[in-house]
Amino acid sequence: MSAVVNNRIRQGSTAVDILLYAIALLVCILTLYPFYLVIIMSISSPMEVAAMNVFWFPKGFFLGSYELIVKDTKMWWAYSNTIIYVVSGMLLNCLMSILGAYPLTARNLKGRKWVIAFLLIPMYFGGGIIPSYLLVNKLGLYNTMFAVIIPGAVSIWNIILVRTYFATIPEAIKESASVDGASHWQLLFRIIVPVSKPILAVIAIYTVVGIWNSWFDALVYLPNERLHPLQMYLYRVVVQQTVDLKMLTMEDAARASFTMLSNIQLKYAIIVFTTLPVIFTYPFFQKYFIKGALLGSLKE
């Protein structure tokens, strides 16, 4: 109702409206055009791409670059590694946030103030990258999958978000449960966690996208290529250019179109291929993200 009122009273001239819509459309196009360009270049015919003729619409149609990528075993290795990192990271983060947040809601917890201070200090001060690197080395995690999984398993930020949500659960529910003889574990996993699904969804999705997009930890901790996540593989192909996809084309060299295939087009194809999961799922999880961003701002 209020939105309707809002619109009616704020009606201005149509000319202004058209101008505003035009600007908004322009902003939209500017934002999306780079993605669009990458996609159309990746499926256009290699001759047209090499001649830089592709601007608005795909010219010709050629999926050879995708064919090559799908055959690349390194890419599939990286894909499966990423899935391992994402799933384990998400589960650990949710579990640790629940376990970390629950005791903080108990009002009679001794030294609660100290625990909160203990949590807040690392949010402002950190040792920096080198002491962390030395620590991971000392613990013997260097060059193992755990080097990426374990340090990221706890997020103080998530603990605070979950704690804030737990605090909104009516005290009466908890009391009646303990009167009925529920232990802390039962109370936590049978009652509190099920009603906290919205906040857990938010942190799970944040974690998933964060891990999916991360590459720097792998760069620092994982010299072994077999352990690299997808983004690190992408880094090697697209930025460092140490993986030459053209090598793959040798067996296909007989086919004329492949010889025209430029490295740049392969890069576009691989960008599209590794980013598609994000772009396709993005509209669905978007609302959780916005929720998370607003929750975060409340704490600030």
């Binding site: 902003v27 920096g128 002491p131 690197y133 590459w215 620092v220 880094y235 697209v238 993200f289 701002s297």
Partner: protein
């Protein structure tokens, strides 16, 4: 709870203690916890070496300038964008514009870097357009002068939509009656925006301004690491990338930690001062 605290202790507090190696001559394999005299304390040597080192002024200048460009050109973009979105009538188009603007935020740095590098390469689209208009191709990837612009534009493109969320949520809580009253008093749309919408989001602007000032020495080094190359060090090498190259790859652990410690100290001071100023001249503060 205990495993969580233990985890935080190990991965947050031990590295925090680890900064003591900034005051030592540390070699890998040596313990920095030992009290048996094997630790070689050197006081502020690494800090002084950094101040007098050949890269100090270049690193400080680049880090500050890149952060400053992003602040000066990027801070008001989400504000303008959210004002624009707010003026659109609600509907599919408005939703679509917002969704599109958030998208770059979810694309990884590596992908964005890959796209940018191929666009500005010698056979990329930017040079193709220049040629189309009869210009001579520019070597954007090796000419240091262009780097700040490339970095700033890309960073703004990646972040403006997402940053507008907070402003938009502040605007959505404005009481429609305020607009109604303004309309009665004969305020046109522009006046309504200046006198109602803008004042309503002022607290949000102040808070984000404090954060932005606290970040004036923290250029996005993870992203720069992806798009720079040795030819661009003159304008692109920042403290974060230098730390990675010299401290981590070069194995200069002690001096690297010293540089990192210095920067986080400066950043914290900046944040603290911005917060003080803001509390003094307005009512908004982080703590």
């Amino acid at each position: 709870m205990l495993p969580v605290l233990l985890h935080i202790f190990i991965f947050c507090y031990i590295p925090l203690y680890g900064v003591v190696i900034a005051f030592q001559d540390y070699y890998p394999g040596k313990s920095f916890l030992a009290f048996d005299g094997s630790v070689h304390w050197v006081g502020f040597k690494h800090f002084i070496d950094f101040f007098n080192g050949p890269y100090f002024s270049r690193l400080m200048r680049n880090t500050f300038m890149l952060s400053f460009y992003f602040f000066a050109f990027g801070f008001w973009v989400p504000i303008l964008f959210s004002l624009l979105v707010n003026e659109l009538k609600s509907g599919v188009f408005k939703k679509y514009v917002q969704t599109a603007s958030y998208l770059p935020h979810f694309i990884s740095n590596v992908v964005v870097a890959g796209m940018i590098l191929s666009f500005i390469g010698s056979d990329g689209i930017v040079n193709a357009i220049i040629k189309l208009f009869g210009g001579a191709p520019i070597s954007l990837t090796t000419e240091p002068g262009y780097f700040p612009a490339i970095y700033t534009i890309t960073s703004i493109w990646k972040s403006f939509g997402w940053s507008s969320i907070l402003y938009l949520s502040a605007m959505s809580s404005i009481d429609p009656h305020l607009y109604e009253a303004a309309k009665m008093d004969g305020a046109n749309r522009f006046k309504q925006m200046v006198h109602i919408t803008l004042p309503s989001i002022r607290p949000t602007i102040f808070i984000l301004l404090i954060f932005a000032i606290g970040n004036l020495l923290s250029a996005n080094s993870e992203f720069i690491l992806l798009i720079y190359n040795p030819a661009l060090y003159e304008t692109a090498d920042v403290i974060g990338t230098y730390l990675y190259r010299d401290g981590l790859l070069g194995g200069n652990f002690s001096s690297g930690t010293a540089v990192g410690l210095l920067i986080s100290a400066i950043n914290f001071t900046l944040l603290y001062m911005a917060n003080r100023l803001s509390r003094k001249y307005s009512d908004y503060a982080l703590w």
